[in-house]
Symmetry: C2
Subunit: 155 residues, 2 copies
């Protein structure tokens, strides 16, 4: 597990095609229910019997739980100097995350460019696939993140 602090990468460390991978992280039914109670209190995230009869055909994690776990995996796989800071992105959930799944991340750099307005920073576009233990994608995201450029003081 990596710290996302000063030990992270700078803009020059990224190039299109570079990949970052995390280890797997498991998801318990208790965690699925606790997240849902706080943020997405719908029957198919909370109650196994109600979930059976729902669109999902069984208990499923909130998509936002999958998204939040993906962020955790990204902080572990790809530390950036000054921290990982996203401006937004696009995401799809091709299939639900289920209690008991173990998720891992494969992130690929799509593009790298200096900022037009701030010479100390740049932008990267990262495509991240969050995979379950059968290597099926549960989330695919393309995110735009700001990354600092190495200055004279950082050598």
């Amino acid at each position: 597990m990596a710290e996302a602090g000063g030990a992270g990468r700078w803009l020059a460390d990224f190039h299109p095609g570079r990949r970052f991978e995390s280890g797997p992280r498991g998801l318990t039914v208790e965690a699925v229910r606790a997240f849902a109670e706080a943020f997405d209190p719908q029957p198919f995230h909370l109650d196994a019997a109600a979930a059976e009869a729902s669109f999902f055909g069984g208990l499923a994690a909130s998509g936002w739980h999958t998204a939040a776990l993906t962020m955790r995996l990204l902080t572990e796989a790809m530390p950036v100097a000054g921290g990982l800071i996203g401006a937004g992105g696009e995401l799809v959930w091709p299939r639900p995350t289920r209690p008991g799944d173990a998720l891992r991340l494969v992130a690929t750099i799509e593009s790298v460019r200096p900022s037009r307005s701030d010479p100390a920073r740049g932008w990267i576009v990262v495509r991240s696939e969050t995979l379950n233990q059968r290597d099926e994608p549960v989330q695919v995201m393309t995110a735009r993140m700001t990354v600092p450029r190495r200055g004279p003081r950082q050598g």
Copy 2:
């Protein structure tokens, strides 16, 4: 607060331009830190002094915390029959959410169409703005959601 169960809306209940609004929901510094510890353990989400020196210039909630709270507000403002089920979307965070902020949601239906593959369902596109107590957007999202069509048994 509304239940997102069978009492919710069907595809025919949505039309472009229809708006849904939630009440405000406050965010404590403890909640910001707890979410960050679980999902986004970076100094600017956890530690006030480190946050002062960071890109954010002060403690900020994880963008994924803002996204998760937005889902909570959406379940309250816009219940759908069978539950709110998103397939994905695009989101941006124009400014950070801060501890002590109170967030509310304004959601507007952008489009409504039947599914091509499933006569029992359709798709809506929802644009949601998550606003802080100064009515400044902290998240703008366009999401695609699946909604059931009212069948003969539902009259």
